[in-house]
């Protein structure tokens, strides 16, 4: 606890506020949920204080400054009575799949589903605690420590061996900003057995005009020969902010197909951490950023090849306008002896305005020799020749630009495995880029 004094004066008030809220949070819980969980929360808080809030001096946060965001004085969201809300909100997402609502961090599980609440799971079975933090340990990671310190509820999704779960699960994070700015911590666990599959959609919505910050950690295990399709839809208004950490481990021949669509919100930082832990595992990561205004979108990916014969592929694209900032940091680690690894990564960016900024840092750390790893990254504006070509075919500059940008974006939206969702996202993007006005 003595480490508080070493914090710089700038972050002290924010950190102090969080420490104070943590104490109140523990008081409110009043020893519910058992001693072990209480200890875990305290340890995590200690670690969070030791590490402090990451500053731009921190290599992993070099281009993303948390302080302007945290200066919004988010207070910890409290439990709200969501009984009436559940149906109306769920109804909006029913055509995507099976909605499960998380209101201010508390899960309202749909009846008869693979989705259960973490709170209940912990109450029923203390041994469940040992699962927590296996993939997302709070040691050394301030954000996970912050999440663990305030850990209360979230979804537990378990799909048994041989189950191909057909209906996509839509996890809707609903944040109540009607009484000012709030921060919500969510912790989700996902377990896929052998030869099973699941499609999971994560989406964020808010109530009221307050600024809301979703701080979400997901730990997912994908068993042998199983497939996880994960879709992260970030299309909320600018009052919505998100810091997400998705740690996923793939067993032998397991597959991950992840698409992140970041086209709305204020401050977004996504940190997928994929660990290829069984031979033959394959991870495909796709991301699209369309940012305008003062929006900041940071995709901070880690793909860890821990064993031989795994493949990974990443493609992240961004279109930046206004005063927006795009950040991409793609780390690929190939551990010693992870031979025959194939890892590809590409990052393509289009900058439309003078005041938009893109910072990109592909990063390869390779400790094995028999590997094929490549990464490529480009930054530029729209191809003048392509624009000219379309102009000669009678399109206005605006139309031509919209057409080219839509085509650029569709390479990513095309990877969304749900037809309904893909069509909706494409329509939204066309609207954003002004392509829907075209004849």
């Amino acid at each position: 606890m003595s480490t508080v004094s070493t914090q710089s004066p700038v972050q002290s008030p924010i950190l102090e506020r969080i420490v104070r809220e943590h104490r109140q949070f523990l008081d409110r819980l009043n020893g519910q949920q058992g001693k072990h969980l209480a200890t875990l929360r305290l340890q995590a808080m200690e670690e969070f204080q030791r590490l402090g809030i990451p500053t731009v001096r921190h290599e992993e946060w070099k281009y993303t400054n948390l302080f302007p965001l945290l200066a919004k004085n988010f207070s910890l969201a409290t439990e709200v009575d969501a009984a009436q809300m559940t149906d109306t909100v769920s109804a909006q997402f029913r055509h995507w799949g099976e909605p499960a609502l998380v209101v201010n961090g508390m899960l309202h599980p749909p009846a008869a589903s693979v989705v259960g609440s973490l709170r209940h799971a912990l109450e029923m079975d203390q041994s469940f605690l040992t699962e927590l933090g296996k993939l997302a340990p709070f040691k050394g990671d301030a954000i996970i420590a912050w999440n663990t310190a305030f850990l209360r509820d979230g979804a537990v999704i378990r799909v048994g061996d041989g189950v191909e779960y057909g209906t996509p699960i839509v996890l809707v994070s609903l944040l109540d900003g009607r009484d000012g700015n709030v921060v919500v911590h969510e912790r989700h666990l996902l377990q896929l057995g052998r030869r099973s599959s699941l499609t999971l959609v994560l989406v964020q919505r808010s109530l009221g005009d307050g600024q809301v910050l979703l701080e979400q950690v997901l730990e997912g295990w994908v068993g042998e020969d199983s497939t996880l399709r994960l879709i992260l839809v970030q299309d909320a208004p600018a009052t919505n902010h998100a810091i997400t950490t998705h740690c996923i481990e793939l067993e032998r021949n397991a597959r991950l197909h992840m698409t992140t669509i970041s086209i709305g919100g204020g401050f977004i930082r996504n940190m997928p951490v994929v660990r290829l832990a069984g031979e033959g595992a394959d991870a495909q990561l796709y991301g699209l950023t369309i940012a305008d205004g003062t929006m900041l979108v940071d995709h901070h990916t880690t793909v860890d090849h821990a064993v031989p014969n795994c493949t990974s592929n990443e493609l992240y694209k961004a279109i930046l306008d206004g005063r927006s900032t795009g950040v991409f940091n793609g780390k690929i680690v190939v551990r010693p002896h992870a031979q025959k690894t194939s890892a590809y990564q590409a990052n393509r960016n289009i900058v439309l305005s003078n005041r938009a900024t893109i910072n990109t840092k592909p990063q390869l750390e390779i400790f094995a020799n028999d590997v094929r790893c490549t990464h490529g990254c480009t930054v530029g504006r729209l191809d003048r020749e392509a624009l000219f070509y379309l102009r000669t075919r009678g399109l206005s500059t605006k139309e031509a630009e919209a057409l080219l940008l839509t085509a650029f974006a569709e390479e990513i939206t095309g990877t969304v495995p749900l037809n309904v969702l893909r069509t909706e996202i494409n329509a939204q993007i066309e609207h954003l880029l002004g392509a829907d006005e075209l004849a």
Partner: protein, 489 residues
């Protein structure tokens, strides 16, 4: 068996030479006793150094300012290298002219070293100079150097040691020294600014094209310039100069820490080409000893249409930590960086470049080829920054890594920061190994594995080697092959 013993013995000698005690011991036994200051660093030491060199007051103040800044700085640890902490108070900061323990003839020189010389095809008398043999041959090189100096003088080119420049051309030095790498730029640059012993100074007047490749080799007092070298090269309007640093032959050196600073300034329409072949003692096969090379190299394209080009072949040093950079300030200026970095055994290299685009229509090109073998770690770390003012900036970067053996590591950390929509920045990187099928193909045609590897490596590094001046390029090719000897098969 005898050969093995002999080899071990020589390894011991080398170890001994590079160890700290050695420095200490011979520092005091040196015949020119008054030229050595005791280990440690404080203001009085800096005053002593400055006084010994007969420097003017402004230079002393400049050093002291740098020292005061250094005291508040922390040694950086972000690079991807590991080493034992350095005790800055245990180093003797002025020991330049010592001539301790020179072998009397080539017979006494490490046979390993001599074998390398033979492979490089270095003439006998040059071998003696390089191995530090105290022979009269040095006199020959003095006369050679004098001839070159006269030629340069007739063109108005100033090429001399830094100490001489401070005495003879104080206006030029004062105007440019520290303008590219400010004394408080980073920890090692500040240390260098406070205690630098000597280095090269070069000024090429407007419109003059320097007819020869300038090299420290031609400067009379080039030998033993010490561990804190300071180089300043200025190309005035429309001038051209090509500068060679280092040498393909293994350099024997007593100092473990090297923190040099190189500053290049290119005015309007000027061009500077700076080539380095660095082959300092990398330590033994277990990574003991070896030189720490922590260098700050930076050039600025100050005027329009100017060009700075860095070419480096890095095969030596236990730890290399350097990022030759270019600030592209003038409109239409061009920055280039070509690098081959080879690490073997336990060597560690964290090297790359920074291209900062400030002016309009500025262009930069980065080609980096890393080769890691044995247990070594080789990192490329680069920054391409396009400032809002840099309209139509263009960058192309390529960094490839080649891995030989399954115990080494290759890492890339390219940072790209773009603040202007008209910029076009491209970056690509690949990592691969020498294909067994290629080796097999060569073997099949009667080329042994070692030669085949050399062949493949040279093809891989060709793009960079072709940028080196002719005579350097041939030696560098052989050097690559030698550095990787025994790493395959």
């Amino acid at each position: 068996m005898r050969a093995v013993n002999e080899y071990n013995e020589h390894v011991d000698i080398l170890e001994h030479i590079t160890s700290e005690d050695y420095q200490y011991k011979y520092g005091f036994e040196s015949q020119i006793e008054e030229e050595v200051v005791p280990p440690g660093l404080d203001e009085s030491i800096i005053r002593t150094i400055s006084a010994k060199k007969g420097e003017p007051e402004w230079m002393l103040q400049w050093r002291l300012d740098a020292f005061r800044a250094w005291q508040y700085m922390k040694e950086p640890h972000w690079a991807n290298v590991r080493y034992e902490p350095i005790d800055y108070q245990a180093i003797s900061y002025y020991a330049a002219p010592k001539r301790a323990a020179q072998p009397r003839s080539l017979e006494e020189v490490d046979p390993e070293l001599r074998r390398t010389f033979e492979k490089l095809g270095i003439p006998l008398h040059e071998q003696e100079i390089l191995a530090g043999v105290a022979v009269d041959a040095v006199l020959d090189s003095v006369s050679v150097a004098t001839t070159f100096r006269e030629k340069l003088q007739s063109l108005g080119i100033i090429f001399c040691s830094m100490s001489e420049a401070i005495r003879e051309y104080p206006d030029l030095v004062r105007r440019y020294l520290g303008t590219v790498v400010p004394p408080n730029d980073n920890f090692f640059a500040a240390l260098n600014s406070a205690v630098f012993s000597d280095g090269s100074f070069c000024y090429v007047p407007p419109g003059v094209r320097c007819p020869i490749e300038l090299s420290t080799y031609f400067r009379i007092n080039a030998r033993n310039t010490g561990q804190f070298e300071r180089t300043l090269i200025i190309a005035d309007e429309g001038a051209y100069v090509s500068y060679l640093e280092g040498c393909t032959a293994p350099m024997r050196d007593e100092n473990q820490l090297h923190a040099a600073v190189v500053e290049l300034i290119a005015l309007k329409d000027a061009e500077i080409k700076y080539s380095t072949v660095q082959n300092w003692y990398p330590g033994d096969k277990e990574g003991r000893g070896g030189i720490y090379n922590f260098v700050t190299k930076r050039g600025i394209c100050l005027g329009e249409n100017s060009k700075i080009s860095w070419t480096q072949v890095e095969t030596g040093s236990a730890i290399t930590w350097k990022y030759p950079s270019v600030i592209l300030k003038g409109d239409n200026s061009v920055g280039e960086f070509y690098s081959v970095a080879v690490t073997n055994h336990r060597q560690q290299a964290d090297t790359g470049t920074k291209m900062t685009h400030v002016g309009r229509n500025t262009r930069s090109r980065i080609v980096s080829k890393g080769i890691s073998a044995g247990y070594s770690q080789n990192s490329y770390r680069g920054l391409v920054r396009v400032n809002p003012s840099a309209e139509n900036a263009r960058n192309f970067s390529q960094c490839d890594s080649l891995l030989i053996g399954d115990q080494c590591g290759a890492h890339t950390f390219p940072y790209i920061e773009v603040n202007n929509p008209t910029a076009i920045v491209e970056h690509e990187a690949t990592t691969s190994k020498i294909g067994e099928d290629i080796l097999f193909y060569c073997n099949q045609r009667g080329i042994d594995t070692e030669t085949a590897v050399a062949l493949i490596i040279n093809g891989y590094a060709r793009e960079v080697l072709s940028k080196l001046p002719m005579e350097f390029a041939v030696e560098a090719q052989k050097l690559l092959a030698i550095s990787l000897e025994g790493s395959v098969g």
